[in-house]
Amino acid sequence: MASSLSAQEKSGGKNFDLKLGSTLVAGSPDANLIFFHKLVAGGNINDEEKSDILKGLGNNNRIGAMIETQLYGRFFSGSNEHIERKNYYQIVVRDFYWGEADFNRNLVDLILNGNKKYENKSVDLSGMKFKDLRFQTFEVGRYQRFGKMGFYGGLGLISGQRFDDARIDRLSIFTAPLGEFIDLSMNGNAHYSKSSMNRFFSFAGIGTSFTLAADIDIHRYWNLGLEVNRLGFIQFGKPTRLATADTTYRFEGAVINNILDSFVLDFKSPDDIRNDIVHVSDQPGYRMALPSGFKVKLGYFPSNRRLSGCASLEWIPSTNFRLALQTLVDYKLLPILKVGISAGTGGYSVWNAGAGAELRLLNTLIIRADLQSAFNLISAERPASWIASTSVKVRL
């Protein structure tokens, strides 16, 4: 996201860009969109739909999302007529959210169908994981051209907002005949930040990040780029919390000591049950590596043709985000309008296909919107994918 792979544009004497943009990458290679559609659209989920929701879910299912919103100001310098070939300084304010979870089919089945089908049986919900992280970055960077090559280096100060890092290694629920009791066996832990600090620029955590990029013109219209984003760490300061559970718990309803006496159906509240199961302690701090992304990009931007395109290969290690290939082809329909189609595979979903458009007014206001998973949304029974981006750029 540091260097730009876009059509070669003439600067027209303008040397400052102000851009506000947002990107969503979310999805699941296992879960389909039916349940999420219901969540949004509402209405009853019937047994057939439940069956469809469960279809495709296996013992280990993943879901994840990354949302990045950034505002930057870019100050160009140099004499090159193409703005992409100019050196620049930039100041970026960025908000980044990353969250992903692993879960098994039984969990969804239990949620959708209840526990009666598990009477006198044990349902295994082991292997659930959940991580999320949200932080803001203040970054200062410099892009410098050296002939056909350009390099970008940026240093960011990170304000951590929140994090969760939970895993449940063992979780089973046994429903006794007639539901006389429900046994829960659980082993897991969760680190998380203090909820009172969960706001923008709270500096609940502090860290640094580096953005490194390089690109090279391998042909008159072809550019090859390499990016490393969010290379760094974040240290959440105290107190962070650690919740651990390694216990078996039996729920028997309200216990009435003497039915001939006055009695109260005094059920334990969820908080009470949680307190029985989970032990929470303050921790001195928690360090997390940022979800660093490595991206190789290839761009084709002929200045005199209507067609342009790019492809990128992105990898975010230590996450559920699989190696992702994303392609985009734009067609300049009018001098002020481009339309494009995109397709990709990997990442948080199996595949995606969609379209986008760019509106350019007076070479000063550039608005672009892409919905890379537009076709996925149409087909709810397919694995879920939400990929979208939008930006507004002002060039002065």
Binding site: L24, A26, G43, I168, R241, I259, D266, A388
Partner: protein, 692 residues
């Protein structure tokens, strides 16, 4: 915020927000139905839950027993005696006072006599210092002489008193026909008049006169109106005109009706008496006082400070006797001085055997009231008096020793509540009931108890059955308690009368499920008189209890015993508002050898509304194969179909009513209920539930 769910609310909201961006056609919340099988409540019912702790106990074999105990009679110390408030009051008048003895001397020298004797007197004066035969003289008279005693008194009107008039003749010659008169100087009242026929030379003569009824003033006049001398009879004697006749007056044993005088220090009252406790029905030799007071009331019209000293040498606390010292300010007839004070008498050991240790209910005491020497003249009259009132008030003994008397106490016919079976009905047949009448005597006196009629009464059914036994209506000896020479611990005398199926019809009596027991008792104390020689004792609160104790082993047969129990119910924690329909299951694991036909009703208000939910079913008895015990539990499940409406109404239930009818199984067999038997109940829900 603590988390145990992998997806936090924030995350979900975040994702949903993004989804919403792309899907802006939301209409209502998603919902779906799930089938829930969950516990609602569980409980365990044991026999110990039914019976109050105070009534229930299991024996060593585990057999459950109900124990019932009632006090039939408590003999209190008040039944024996009470120490009445006792007062001694006495008024003391001035005639108890005494005055100083008054001595007045007046010398009458020969020279003075000679100067009044004409020529003979002149001769005597002339012969002073020489030896001479003094001729007969007289008759002569001496002019009145004033005597002044105003340093001791001003006047005194005497009810009684004496005066000695003494003439000491130091002259060398006899004197004869000495006549004298004593008068008050001011009013000339003659107080006395006398005559000595002869007073020999160098001898003295004395006469005593009564002053009763006279008022004596301090200024007196004594007059020797006549005296003569036969002379020395021709015998020469030394004439010394300084020789004298000494007239001496001694005024004593004065009992004034009124006097203005200097009063000597003296005890006005001094009494040593036995203080008798009156109206005591027992003969006590000793008592320890738990509480009570001694009060003192003093009233004085005497114009001088009185010193009051009271002592009870027989009352000792911490090694010290009881005494009171108090000063009473001067008073007048119009404004007597007064004191009223009370003194704590608790904790005293009180000897009641009298001054000579030969009586009872009496303790020696002394009262002394004194005045100091007044130093100045003060007027006391016979109208002045001192009122001394002493008394015991609210005396309560913590211990008493003596002879407690032979008394007969009758109690009843009376009844006592027998309510521990009140909730039972139907047909019962008990076995092995034991009834004890226990007498615990903590009094150091013998007794004799006669238990008259005893009858069991069920006021609901009207059934009544008299207890019959050969042990009733005959004296039951109650032995006396013993202590440690006046100190605890007390070893009570215990006597028990035991009635069971071998000597009575007690099983039949209790099988009518009585709620009332009628009885009559007679207790005689010291039936053999004062055999202890005044060594009976009684401690406060440690008396004679007659208690009825009943042991009912739960070994019975029951036919159609109905129990109705209404319990308050709070279902606020029951979150079933999204339940659609389904069933509730009441699963009962019964270890009792009792069939139970159970009806359950949930109501909003007892008796004021229709049942919100009703259910009924049979809980089967556990089986007895061999011996007395059941072989494990018998499981019964009562299925209660519920509609959505009923589930919603269940939330309003505040009352749950259990109506149960019990029958022992097998039929016509008496079964035993053991302590470890339990009825385990669990209420579960099998509901279709809407997630919204």
């Amino acid at each position: 915020m603590q988390k145990i769910l992998p997806l936090s609310c924030n995350t979900i909201l975040y994702i949903l927000t993004i989804i919403f961006i792309f899907n802006c056609c939301q209409r209502d919340n998603p919902s779906w139905n799930i089938d829930v099988l969950a516990p609602i409540a569980k409980g365990k019912l044991r026999i110990s839950d039914i019976a109050p702790d105070s009534l229930y106990k299991a024996d060593s074999s585990g057999l459950a027993h109900l124990y019932f105990e009632r006090a039939l009679y408590n003999l209190s110390v008040d039944s024996f005696f009470a120490i009445s408030d006792t007062t001694v009051a006495k008024s003391f008048a001035i005639d108890s006072l005494r005055l100083y003895t008054l001595n007045i001397q007046y010398p009458l020298t020969l020279g003075a006599i000679a100067r009044q004797s004409g020529p003979v007197g002149a001769l005597i004066l002339a012969l002073h210092g020489s030896t001479f035969a003094i001729p007969a003289i007289g008759p002569l008279s001496v002019p009145p002489v004033d005597l002044n005693a105003d340093t001791l008194f001003t006047s005194m009107t005497l009810d009684d008193g004496k005066i000695d008039v003494r003439f000491e003749n130091n002259l060398p010659v006899d004197i004869t026909d000495v006549r004298f008169v004593l008068k008050n100087a001011n009013n000339g009242l003659k107080l006395l008049e006398g005559n000595f026929p002869i007073i020999r030379a160098n001898t003295a003569e004395s006469q005593t006169f009564s002053l009763s009824g006279l008022t004596v003033e301090s200024k007196l006049t004594v007059e020797v109106s006549n005296f003569s001398s036969p002379g020395s009879g021709g015998k020469p004697v030394l004439v010394d005109t300084s020789n004298s006749i000494i007239a001496a007056l001694k005024v004593y044993d004065l009992r004034p009706s009124k006097a203005t005088a200097v009063w000597p220090a003296q005890n006005i009252i001094e009494q040593y008496l036995d203080f008798n406790l009156r109206r005591l029905s027992v003969k006590l030799k000793f008592a320890k006082i738990k509480s009570g007071k001694v009060y003192l009331k003093l009233l004085s019209t005497i114009d001088d400070t009185l010193h009051f000293y009271y002592s009870l040498p027989g009352a000792v606390k911490n090694g010290k006797g009881f005494d009171i010292r108090k000063d009473l300010a001067p008073g007048t007839t119009l404004q007597p001085s007064a004191i009223y004070e009370e003194y704590d008498f608790s904790g005293y050991d009180l000897d009641l055997s009298g001054s000579n240790k030969d009586t009872f209910n009496a303790t020696p005491n002394s009262i002394i009231v004194s005045i100091d020497s007044t130093g100045i003249q003060k007027t006391f009259s016979k109208a002045d008096n001192i009122l001394v009132e002493l008394g015991f008030k609210d005396l309560k003994p913590s211990y008493a020793k003596g002879y407690l008397g032979m008394d007969t106490f009758t109690f009843g016919p009376n009844f006592t509540s027998f309510d521990f079976l009140k909730d039972l009905n139907g047909k019962f047949k008990f076995s092995d009931i034991q009834l004890n009448v226990d007498v615990e005597n903590k009094i150091g006196a013998d007794g004799s108890l006669i238990i008259g009629q005893v009858a069991a009464l069920n006021t609901i059914t009207g059934q009544q059955l008299s207890l019959t036994s050969s042990e009733l209506n005959k004296p039951l000896g109650v032995s006396r308690a013993s202590d440690q020479n006046g100190f605890p611990p007390i070893l009570p005398g215990k006597t028990s009368l035991q009635l069971d199926k071998t000597n009575s019809n007690i099983n039949d009596c209790v099988s009518i499920l009585p709620d009332q027991l009628n009885y009559a008792l007679t207790l005689i104390t010291n039936p053999n008189g004062n055999v202890s020689d005044y060594r009976d004792f009684v401690y406060d609160g440690q008396l004679l209890d007659i208690r009825l104790k009943m042991d009912v082993p739960l070994h019975f047969s029951i036919e159609n015993c109905s129990l109705l129990d209404t319990s308050d119910l709070n279902t606020s924690g029951l979150n079933l508002q999204n339940a659609i329909e389904g069933k509730l299951y009441l699963k009962v694991e019964n270890e009792f050898p009792l069939d139970s036909d159970m009806e359950i009703k949930f109501e909003e208000q007892a008796g004021l509304s229709q049942a919100l939910l009703e259910a009924a079913g049979r809980i089967n008895a556990a089986e007895i194969v061999n011996g007395d015990r059941t072989t494990g539990s018998k499981t019964s499940i009562i299925e209660i179909p519920v509609t959505q409406d009923q589930v919603n109404k269940l939330k309003k239930a505040h009352i749950v009513i259990f109506k149960t009818r019990f029958n022992t199984r097998p039929d016509n067999r008496q079964v035993k209920i053991f302590d470890d038997y339990a009825m385990k109940l669990s209420l579960t829900a099998d509901l279709k539930y809407k997630i919204d």
